[in-house]
């Protein structure tokens, strides 16, 4: 054994300098939790492999330990007579049981190997923030080197799974725009260190972002080639933060401590509980239970057939019920203790009953916003608010921020409006209220054609869109209300489509494509002419919005900014 005691909690990882024999990359070693500047290579927390190994690791180790002690005792006691009824594995292990010394040797060896692997994985995992990038290297046999340019950082999340909470560790997840697996995960760091890292990363990412307006105008890549386009415009400093529209008096650099942001709201767990239960699945289950109960009552003492029928039907919906319950409980665990904070340039979302997560979403990374009110929430007037952020959400693996796109799991309309005002101060609250509650006929709203009545008998009066200088609002659903808002500057591409039914009625559907996420912005069944006009105008508006990058959105507090309906509608 070359390594004296490589089990993870052992003290030696804290003195890695004692093992300088590694070939490449002689780096200044750092003690975790110390204030090593981020631009030097540094290790993760020494306990991380253990926590990453997680419950399985602990269970295995625990099992091994008990076996070990058990066997040791057995060996000391001279061995009890074997129970003849025990066969199979017991027989196979008979040799080991008969030789406690060999058994403990094997177990010790296994522990050593596990420890060694853990130690190696820790030893080879290093990260740094340098040259505008955050880099993570890991792997001992299979090396992996992942880097994310800071200007591509979409959000930074701190997450504390249960086991990490027990050990006081946190993982920092850096979300970047890209496919599902484009996250960079620093698992794990000490809780304080994780906070420091997050803060520094936010500051760095923000600082690079300050350069963006100018860069956007002259049309070069932020990575800093010389401006090739129109350098004259590039020199004009932007007094307005392009995305939020608020005056850039507070630069998003380290001046503002992200932790001391203003708390916007908390969601009481009791309300969340009620809201979580009010869900299609549970209501279906309740209805089934009611029917079953009444059937059982009616059949009480009379017909055995009905009873047996119910008895057969119940197990059939068992798995379904189980799935629904698991889903609801998961939702509750995910959104419990929900808090939303405002740091001035970012929204800070904290949530989780067991797995505590903190996500920081820079406001200008938000691509689209939606307010949703399921039918069941209507008596309470509750709404949910979701956002699209490039790189977050739609992550099938789920672990890294599966649903960090919810910025308000349940809240009153006023709270929802407050959240939206935080996310996008340029949207007028009155317009939003109209979008949320309107039933048709408000000024500024272009609703779906009456010809769509046969296709959408309930919603045709309400469904429609409205345009403000800054964004496009779409409202849909009479029963299941939904409002989507997408800034013109965030439109990725536009789609106009028409199926055979639409064609017969001379209707068409317009979609404003956003980055992947829960929000989709689509106006169905518009009059074909209106739809073509919307497509054309929106293309022009988003082009203009991209070019002037925000100088159009100046006054946040106007009562209504809806433009009059586009002229082509009257045609």
């Amino acid at each position: 054994m070359p390594v004296s005691d490589p089990r993870m909690p052992a003290p030696d990882p804290r003195m890695p300098a004692a093992n300088p024999g590694l070939p490449r990359q002689v780096v200044p070693e750092s003690r975790p939790g110390s204030n090593t500047p981020l631009n030097e290579w540094q290790h993760l927390h020494p306990l991380s492999p253990l926590v990453r190994g997680g419950v399985v690791g602990i269970a295995v180790i625990g099992y091994a330990a008990t076996q070990f002690v058990d066997d040791l005792l057995r060996g000391m006691g001279g061995g009890e007579p074997e129970d003849p009824s025990e066969g199979g594995i017991r027989d196979g292990l008979g040799f080991l049981l008969d030789h406690p010394l060999a058994t403990s040797g094997v177990l010790l060896l296994a522990l050593l190997v596990v420890g060694l692997v853990g130690w190696l994985s820790w030893r080879f995992a290093k990260f740094r923030v340098a040259a505008g990038q955050i880099e993570l290297r890991k792997g001992w046999l299979f090396r992996e080197h992942r880097q994310v340019p800071l200007e591509r950082v979409q959000a930074i999340e701190i997450s504390r799974p249960l086991l990490a909470q027990l050990t006081g560790l946190s993982q920092v997840i850096v979300q970047s725009a890209g496919g599902g697996d484009s996250h960079l995960k620093l698992a794990f760091l000490g809780a304080r260190r994780a906070d420091e890292v997050r803060r520094e990363l936010i500051a760095l990412a923000g600082r690079r972002d300050e350069v963006r307006p100018a860069v956007r105008v002259d049309g070069t890549d932020p990575s800093g080639a010389t401006p090739s386009g129109t350098p004259a415009t590039a020199s004009v400093p932007s007094a307005i933060d392009p995305a939020t529209g608020r005056p850039a008096t507070v630069p998003s650099t380290g001046l503002l401590d992200p932790d001391e942001g203003r708390e916007v709201l908390r969601v009481p767990n009791s309300r969340l509980f009620v809201a979580t239960i009010l869900h299609g699945g549970t209501i279906f289950l309740g209805a089934v239970a009611l029917v079953a109960a009444s059937l059982a009552l009616a059949a009480y003492g009379s017909s055995l057939e009905v009873l047996t029928g119910a008895a057969i039907a119940l197990p059939a919906i068992g798995p379904l019920a189980f799935g629904i319950v698991v889903n609801r409980v998961g939702e509750l665990l995910k959104h419990g203790n929900f808090r939303l904070g405002d740091t001035g340039t970012a929204a800070r979302v904290q949530h989780g009953l067991t797995d505590k997560r903190t996500t920081t979403i820079p406001l200008h990374r938000i691509q689209a916003v939606a307010m949703v009110q399921p039918l069941w929430w209507r008596p309470f007037g509750w709404w949910r608010v979701n956002v699209n952020v490039a790189g977050i959400g739609h992550d099938p693996t789920g672990e890294a921020g599966g649903d960090d796109t919810t910025v308000l799991p349940v809240g009153t309309l006023d709270q929802a409006l407050e959240v939206l005002a935080l996310l996008d101060p340029v949207i007028s609250a009155d317009d939003l209220r109209q979008a949320a509650l309107g039933e048709g006929g408000e000024p500024g709203w272009t609703t779906v054609s009456e010809r769509a009545r046969s296709l959408d008998p309930l919603g045709w009066r309400r469904n429609g869109f409205a345009v403000s200088a800054h964004s496009l609002m779409v409202r849909t659903g009479r029963l299941w209300r939904r409002v989507s808002v997408m800034p013109h500057a965030r439109v990725q591409s536009l789609t106009l489509s028409q199926g055979p039914l639409d064609r017969r009625l001379d209707l068409a559907t317009v979609t404003l494509v956003s980055t992947p996420g829960p929000v989709s912005v689509q106006v169905q069944h518009l009059e074909a002419g209106t739809a073509a006009g919307l497509l054309r105008d929106e293309a022009a508006r988003s082009r203009a919005a991209r070019q002037i990058s925000g100088s159009a959105c100046t006054t946040p507090e106007v009562p209504s900014q809806l433009e009059p309906p586009p002229p082509h509608e009257e045609r």
């Binding site: 591409s493 064609r503 992947p516």
Partner: protein, 167 residues
């Protein structure tokens, strides 16, 4: 040349703009692919019908009808694809029964794939796929002549660079 184009005329089926069709070779390629899939089935059914059981003729007829329908459909589909480069965006129209029109601003283009398998290459065409930050918003332009596709990619990449907007 594109500066004279009026983006107002972008409609689902209008012909005011010089919409450009894709190469007719695409039709050949798709027909070949379809035949490679279906003709063996027809032959198998025919052989079975002759050797074993006459009822297999039904299968043969059904698959042959499918083949004929596919041939007709491919012709219509390919002729329905048209595209145009406007000053600020590329617009692709597709479909007859389910019509769709995708407009992708140059500034939103993240990258462009030009693909050409052996079959397509033998016919001298390639397919161009436009990727934005959203996987669902990309458009595909199948069946451009090879050099045309390369030129388009170069042109659009340059324009995308010039009009690049952040996310």
């Amino acid at each position: 040349m594109t500066s004279a184009l009026d983006p107002d005329a972008v409609t689902l089926r209008g012909d005011e703009l010089p919409w450009r069709p894709v190469s007719p070779a695409l039709r050949t390629v798709r027909l070949i692919t379809l035949s490679v899939w279906l003709v063996p089935f027809v032959l198998a059914f025919v052989v079975l019908a002759v050797l074993l059981w006459p009822w297999f003729w039904i299968g043969a007829v059904v698959v042959a009808a499918l083949l004929a329908w596919g041939v007709w459909l491919i012709g219509r589909q390919v002729s329905a694809i048209s595209w145009i480069e406007l000053p600020d965006e590329i617009v692709i129209r597709k479909g007859r029964v389910f019509r769709s029109l995708v407009s992708i601003p140059y500034g939103r283009l993240q990258y462009i794939d030009v693909q050409s398998g052996p079959l397509m290459r033998s016919r001298g065409i390639a397919s161009c796929e436009f990727h934005t930050a959203s996987p669902e918003s990309g458009g595909t332009l199948p069946g451009l002549p090879l050099e045309e596709a390369e030129a388009l990619r170069g042109r659009l990449a340059a324009r995308g660079e010039a009009q690049r907007a952040g996310l």
